[in-house]
């Protein structure tokens, strides 16, 4: 891979230098976070934080108003007040209030239902856009998709980059599309740029795509659509976090990170947060700067929180499905 020279929208060029990533090294560092032993109070802190960082997601052809209603209820109250009071009675301890999740993430046609059922809660509505997940349509249709999402009430746009263009070296096209989407989003919606790292394959590609996305205006960069295997991994997320760190050093602008797809357990979430804690520091340890694109972890996190309080294990059926 070489340096990439890109035309800026207002004229002029800038260069993204080749910044290689050593695969063995990144995987070793990533593994070190999975060996942290998180116990007691710090475990509870991280579980609560992880819950508040979740983007509860449904992206199915079969999505309906009913399904979205269900998802939004879960987003607002991940656990019913009844279950909390039950625990408090048994343990004679006051539980820290269980937070709502950060956002729900849906297709464009489901945005009105999300708006309806989230009501005046502070939960964000993220719409996957730009012909998610393959991004295989013309640019004007992608842009209309974004516009429509915002019109319908999306507060966050999860766009996908054109991986075909990226892999064939048409970096300019990828860049221009992100810039164009950003123009539509600016001031109205947060822009998350999905790289689909499972299709970019190499860490060098992930690093380059991360840098291009941030310079094109991403507020967040996100690993995956959830439709491709592998989804998020700890090493891929580490590459992206280090790109975010370098971008911050150059511009003083904080960009957020969202691993998505493949994160299923509270334990995994804790590993990710240890990584954010140690690589990025406290400034990134909040839902404005870090999100989990995962629905499956919510109930596992709740199980662990309840276990921390009561000392006993819970079943999945102790908590509502989403």
């Amino acid at each position: 891979m070489a340096n990439i020279s890109l035309k800026m929208p207002g004229g002029g060029r800038f260069v993204i230098s080749h910044y290689p990533v050593d695969a063995i090294g990144i995987e070793e560092r990533a593994a070190s976070f999975t060996k942290r032993s998180i116990k007691g109070e710090s475990k509870l802190d991280l579980l609560y934080l992880a819950l508040s960082m979740c983007d509860l997601t449904t992206l199915e052809g079969a999505d309906t108003e009913g399904k979205i209603r269900q998802l939004c209820a879960k987003a607002i109250h991940p656990v019913s007040p009844f279950a909390v009071s039950e625990i408090e009675k048994i343990t004679n301890k006051k539980m820290r209030p269980i937070p709502s999740v950060a956002a729900v993430c849906v297709y464009q046609n489901m945005v009105p239902y999300a708006k309806k059922y989230l009501g005046d809660s502070k939960i964000n509505i993220a719409a996957v856009s730009t012909a998610f997940p393959a991004s295989a349509v013309s640019t004007d249709i992608k842009l209309r998709d974004v516009k429509k999402c915002i019109e319908l009430g999306a507060t966050e746009i999860d766009m996908v980059i054109d991986r075909g263009a990226f892999l064939s070296g048409k970096y300019q096209k990828v860049f221009d599309e992100i810039v164009a989407v950003k123009d539509i989003c600016a001031g109205k919606a947060h822009l998350k740029v999905i790289l689909e790292t499972g299709e970019l394959v190499t860490y060098d590609n992930v690093r380059l795509a991360s840098m291009m996305s941030m310079y094109a205006g991403a507020d967040f960069i996100k690993t995956s659509t959830g439709k491709v295997t592998p989804g998020a991994t700890i090493p891929v997320t580490l590459v992206m976090l280090q790109a975010i760190q370098d971008y911050y050093d150059e511009t003083n602008i904080q960009i957020g990170m969202k691993p998505a797809g493949g994160i299923r357990t509270a334990k995994q979430a804790i590993h990710y947060l240890c990584m954010v804690n140690e690589v990025m520091g406290a400034d990134w340890m909040n839902p404005d700067m870090f999100r989990f694109g995962a629905s499956a972890i919510v109930n596992d996190i709740l199980k662990q929180i309840f276990k921390q309080y009561s000392g006993k294990y819970y079943y999945s059926y102790d908590f509502a499905i989403d």
């Binding site: 207002g10 002029g12 511009t251 340890m285």
Partner: protein, 507 residues
Amino acid sequence: MIKKTSKTKKPVKAVKTVKVVKAEKKSKGFKIDYSPSLEGTSIVTIKPRNELFIGGKFVAPKSNKYFDTVNPATGEKISELALANKDDVDSAVKAARHAYNGEWGKMSGKDRGRLLFRVARILQERAREFAVLETLDGGKPIKESRDVDVPLAAQHFFYHAGWADKLDYLAPNKKVSPVGVCGQIIPWNFPLLMAAWKLAPALACGNTVVLKPAETTSLTALLLADVFNEAGFPAGVVNIITGAGETGAALVNHPDVNKIAFTGSTDVGKLIAKSIAHSNKKLSLELGGKSANIIFADAAIDQAIEGVVNGIYFNQGHVCCAGSRLLVEESIVDEVVKKLQRRLDMIRVGNPLDKNTDLGAINSLEQLNKINELVDLGKKEGGDFYQSSSPLPKKGYYFAPCMFSNVTSAHTLNRIEIFGPVLTIQTFRTPDEAITKANDSRYGLAAGIWSEKGSKNLKIAGALKAGVVWVNTYNKFDAASPFGGFAESGWGREGGRHGLFSYLKID
């Protein structure tokens, strides 16, 4: 790394506007300080008093003297060790000679291998016990004793067990035979692992051994004695005697010892070489180092940073091959220093038994004083000093990791081995200058190269005067890979095929 041309400024700024607002209103997140997660110590029983292991039994020293061994994490005494005098050394050597002339000397390579495989398996079975004891005795973080020291020690026994019945293939058309009784003296930085490095090849080759662990860290070696008995080794094949310099000198000068293997400081290594110069004892030395770690501008920088951290801060810097001299291409030095400083603050210094501790206790008060003295001297000589902000435990021997950037080759800290978590950083302009600076040392144990350009790596690796050259990694050890140094870093190799020659006569 982004290079912008001047014309690009306007559009980039336009894109940024929204985000700047966001950056301003960013909420401070959580700073998570991991709650203590202590490894339990109930698995280990530390005897209040430890005897000498001679002829398969623990026996009281003829000296009738004992000395204290302390846990550096607290500074408190944890046990007493027997002090072996000349007579004790003589008993141990006699026991070793007796075993060599007896059952062990007649045993086939296959059977020696069988016993060594047993040692390896028992080490794996009792891994946690060894890891906890190693950490209690030496102060290294439990995650290192658990994930590095003990598994590698077991691997050394597995690897050499495999050689025991294949020695005839080592030197075709030659006759190989054991050397005899080996005196082995090991250091305090990897007590169990160094014992394994020394014992496994010696035993695989059919020798018997008198091993002297370092006086501050003898407990895991004594526990290993237990393993040899459990594995069914004939009495006297392995003898372990504890004591300090005088005990070591008695062993080195004993007339019935055929070979001395020593790992430790260059000064002591020279003394040993002198004192056996007029004998026909074989000698292998693994001594000090001041190894260079070289980062080129075309390296994968973030991974190189990790390599530097692993190179110098692993095991509190108590590593003979530690990458203590960092050489950075001048064009990227600011970036590297900034990233290293940030990384230094993330290193958790603390109780070695805490599973989240990255940097444990300095091995002894003596060593801590030495590090403090040298760092003070470094500060006087100049350079930019940076030390991790990690809090230190109140009790025990601790030193926060630190680095000196902007120093030159003439700086004292670039000349002498510190054996602590202290890094120096110099710059270079061209590959030739990097090679010259890297080789500008009395030592030549190891070196590291960081570059994504393969042809450059090969060329530079060949030009470095160092026994081990790691490319795009550092501090990787394997029983199959020979280890040893150039110049004042030592004589001979340990590990791998090469390491066996130190323990064999070849006719």
